[in-house]
């Protein structure tokens, strides 16, 4: 059942991990906000503080996660995802699959033009998808299974797939659905000068890269009601303390923060919005026991799961901004089962019993450790494993190599924060035999069977199938998840926001001026 496609897809994981690990991927923003005077941004302007700087406006290189804040103002997408992550009409008004899920037909709006005057139609959809496919960007995988885009009429296109891609419609709400002017795509300058049909126009002259990105209202936008601000400004500030200060002094209206500063900003009258996107914990990568034979025994992996005091970690390390869990899927995921959250409790005695049953009397595992947001958790993890007789030895690595080292396959176990998206994506990213985060290529015939069933099922059956996968993973302790981490998003008194499921930051249409 493994497909070429199955190798792909850490999409959203990347997105949130940037925020979580703070160091793993993406360009940390050259820190700045611009504004010198502490004037509070006028009601007509929304100023967002971003944790990372923009990389590019080229649709082939767009990213999700933090960087949607830069491109969502200028580019409209075929689908819009609502706060729960459900697809809603946008540039595509209707969509439908054929029976075997390999052709997706989209009906398009006929009243949309790009800011360079060109009309939006089926040909532009084709041009955009092909552009992304021809590139080497992070999200190319979203369109990889699209073998052909057939333009039936200016308002109808068919996406023909090489195999079913369960979350394809969601992808069309992210980078795969981004629509830029086809002429601009060919110009070669789109990386710096975006031309889209979005609610705002990028003010290249007024913006200073690395400092301040200014977007002014697009007078011709078809759905202006959803975007109340006259102007949107995005300021990259990658130091959280600086961001807190900017938020407190009104230099920005909204920004992604960390649990550690939540109490501080709340005391200063900032609203803290939360949403859990990522799970934080262990990938017991050597579950087949190739490097550390003891890990092949499910009882040992279960013992590890019982070693951690998840509640206390959430309270102490996360200031309460998180939920203890034993499963890797997010709460909106098809594979999520609320009952699995408390499957493994903190029980060192039970852990020791399990170790004894497995006939294991202490062993050593290695894992990478790096300086960053999890610095304080590492020693605790080591200490708690020591309690049940497992010696954890850390290898200190440079922060920028965290992802590369974690994926290198050099470690039997890896601690990492990973963002969870759709069930299918998550499985392709973490679980499948050649998933990048299945670093040592562990396999299990029973698991493979369950996954295949899920891929080809539809509707409620699919959900059930995914939940079976989830249950299997928890019972067999392929992971030792600790908790789901809350994204902490601060907004000032002038601003309200609804969090966006499965993304690190809210989408632009979720922002509203606070009612007086």
């Amino acid at each position: 059942m493994t497909t070429k496609f199955a190798q792909r897809g850490a999409v959203l994981a990347i997105a949130a991990a940037v925020a979580l690990a703070g160091c793993s991927t993406g360009t940390p923003a050259p820190e700045d906000t611009g504004a010198a005077d502490t004037e509070v941004v006028s009601a007509g302007t929304l100023t967002i503080g971003a944790r990372v700087d923009n990389n590019s406006f080229d649709p082939a290189n767009l990213e999700i996660g933090n960087r949607v804040q830069y491109w969502q103002p200028v580019y409209d997408t075929l689908i819009r995802l609502d706060a729960e992550g459900q697809p809603q009409p946008n540039l595509a008004t209707e969509w439908s699959y054929n029976d075997d899920g390999t052709v997706l037909t989209l009906q398009l709006r006929d009243d949309v033009t790009f800011s360079d005057g060109e009309a939006f139609d089926g040909e532009s959809v084709k041009a955009n998808i092909e552009h992304i496919k021809a590139g080497t960007g992070q999200n190319r995988f979203m369109v990889e299974a699209i073998e052909e885009v057939v333009v039936s009429s200016p308002t109808e296109v068919e996406l023909r797939l090489s195999e079913p891609v369960p979350p394809l419609v969601s992808y069309l709400g992210w980078v795969a659905g981004v629509q830029a002017s086809p002429a601009a795509l060919e110009s070669g300058t789109i990386g710096d000068a975006p031309v889209g049909s979005g609610p705002y126009l990028y003010d290249a002259a007024g913006s200073v890269r690395g400092t301040e990105y200014i977007y002014t209202k697009n007078p011709d936008y078809w759905n202006a009601d959803d975007f109340p601000y006259e102007e949107v400004i995005v300021r990259p500030i990658n130091d959280v303390t600086a961001l807190v200060n900017a938020l407190k002094t009104g230099q920005v209206d909204a920004a992604l923060l960390t649990p550690q500063v939540a109490g501080e900003v709340e005391a200063a009258g900032i609203t803290v919005n939360t949403l859990s996107v990522a799970w934080v914990g262990w990938l017991l990568a050597d579950r087949n026991g190739t490097v550390v034979p003891e890990l092949a025994d499910v009882r040992v992996r279960q013992a590890i799961n019982h070693a951690f005091d998840r509640e206390a970690m959430v309270t102490a390390i996360m200031s309460g901004y998180g939920e203890p869990t034993s499963q890797v899927f997010n709460t909106a995921s098809q594979a999520y089962d609320a009952e699995l959250d408390e499957y493994y409790t903190y029980d060192p005695e039970r852990a020791k019993e399990l170790m004894e049953e497995a006939g294991v009397d202490g062993f050593t595992i290695t894992a990478p450790e790096w300086s960053g947001p999890w610095t304080n958790l590492f020693p605790i993890l080591k200490d708690q494993l020591a309690e049940i007789g497992i010696t954890l030895e850390y290898v200190t690595i440079p922060p920028d190599q965290a992802v590369a080292q974690a994926l290198s396959g050099d470690y039997p176990t890896v601690f990492f924060p990973l963002a969870s998206a759709s069930a299918w994506q998550d499985i392709q990213t973490w679980v499948a035999p050649d998933a990048p985060w299945n670093m040592l290529g562990a396999t299990d015939a029973e698991l493979d069977q369950l996954i295949e069933e899920a891929q080809y099922a539809q509707g409620d059956e699919q959900e059930e199938a995914f939940q079976e996968v989830g249950t299997w993973l928890v019972e067999n302790a392929w992971f030792a998840p600790l908790f789901r981490q809350d994204q902490v998003f601060g907004t000032n008194a002038e601003t309200t926001v609804t969090m966006q499921a499965q993304n690190a930051v809210p989408s632009l249409w979720q922002f509203r001026p606070a009612a007086d």
Binding site: V261, A312, T375, P398
Partner: protein
Amino acid sequence: MTDLTPPVPTAPALGAGRTSIIRMIVRDPLALTGLIVLLLMVLVAVFADLLAPWDPLKPELALVNAPPGTPDHPLGGDGAGRDILSRLIFGSRLTLLSAALAVGVSVVIGVPSGLIAGYTGRKFDAVASWVSDVVLSVPNKVVLLAVIAAFGPSVLITMTAFGVLLAPNLYRLVRSQTIAVKNELYIAAARVSGLSDTRIIARHVLYVVRAPVIIQSANLAGIAIIVQSGLEFLGLGDPGQATWGSMIGNAFAVLYLAPTAMIWPGVAIGVTVAALVLVGNGLRDAVQGTSGRAPRRRHRRAAAVAVPASETASAAPVAVSDGPGELVLEVRSLRVGYPHGETTSVVVDDVSLAIRRGEVLGLVGESGSGKTQTAFAILGLLPRGGEVLAGSILVNGTDVVRLAERERRRLLGRAISYIPQEPMSNLDPAFRIGQQLVEPMMTRGLRRAAATKRAFELLAEVGIVDPKRTFDAYPHQISGGMAQRVLIANAISGDPELLIADEPTTALDVTVQAEVLALLRRLQQQRRMAVLLVTHNLGVVADLCDSVAVMQNGRIVEVAPVTELFGNPRHDYTRKLLGSTLDDTDARPAYREPDAAPQEARA
């Protein structure tokens, strides 16, 4: 030949006075505090295992961000629930070690290369200096970033690299010190006497650079600690290690949850760095004597008789001739000393003398007899720390000791003027000769044009052939004899009634000496100035003076008209002086003799 006053080469003298340096630091309360703090820190680091109440690496979830005052954990817990006090105590170990590592590396690299470059010069110097310039031209934090990126965040690697980056500081210091010492005569003498270069470097040069290197190292250690904490702050630290820097980094991450956690390592770093700086400053002050508290070494050349400041003056010969003419200068029972703490080094004691208009009084004595101090006391320009302790100085009948500073200053360049000993060091190197002549005259109310015209006249009057050229020259562009003529021109530009000439010819070539003496004689006679001529050279005395006062150990031992003194010296010391002069009429050669070795200065 006892009357040699070689310039004291600072460093050997200091090396000799090693115990006195320690004593000076101990006497300097700030430096002493620093020293004690450092010692305490080292003790804490050594005995961390005994002192720390907890394992610094053992986390406890209940203790995460615990506030200060938590039972059993007086400073609370850090972000990972480890006891802050224990980490602070253990942190001193790695922090001090890593600072020592950085300094050690830079000493190992900087000192030998500086010695070789300074001593041998040539190619090694060229290459090493280039490398040093390169390293100094690149901001070292940027390099450290690259090193961390390349080799990972280990404290030891980072601090080793930092040591390399700091090395040019020591290299430059040692190199310049070595060059300076190399040209000292005693090194030349050592070389002539056949000592090998390595021995000279080891025995003499290293000896000289030792103190500056220690001072600089103290500062570098402080910088290393600060930089390390800065890197931790940037998130580039080593998460597995307990240093004060990593504690700051850790505390910064939970700044808002446990604001006090930042204080302790911050205070530890601040106190340690401050202690290092204080010790460094104390050492520096002890070496350079720049502190104002510590007396400068130079004064100590004057035979410092440590006597209680209260000791009463005794009767002594008074140098007053009973010739005609009004008294221009009258000094009564003058006592000059340098108080430090309880005791006072008295350098001039119970000196009385007087000079009438048109008269020249010679003040003779060997080096350290107090004659120059007497002259400075009359001018009111005693070196830092010096004071007139007793007696009076009457200029035209006014006791200037009792005048306000400002009033007294007004006399200088007008009623009283001064010709110094070393012409080259007495002209401001940063200004043209002309400016230095014109400025005092303008101070006295002349307009620039008039002062300039007068300066040309004066330059011509003192026998300078091309006044225009000299006027436009910088001091380093003219010869010593010329410079002395310029200084004489300057001294007479205010038409003084009293001229104080301190060894006006000693630093000059023999041929020039005669010319300058002739010039002085002519000017003195034309202007009928009263002159106090400080000299050790009895030949000069015979040539110029009307009467002579002989000084020894800060006191005047004999006063007499010139002819009488030469004909019938009464005091033993005078006879001895005369004797040595007769043995060798060229009492003071113009060059410094090689045997004016440091031994002399150390004595």
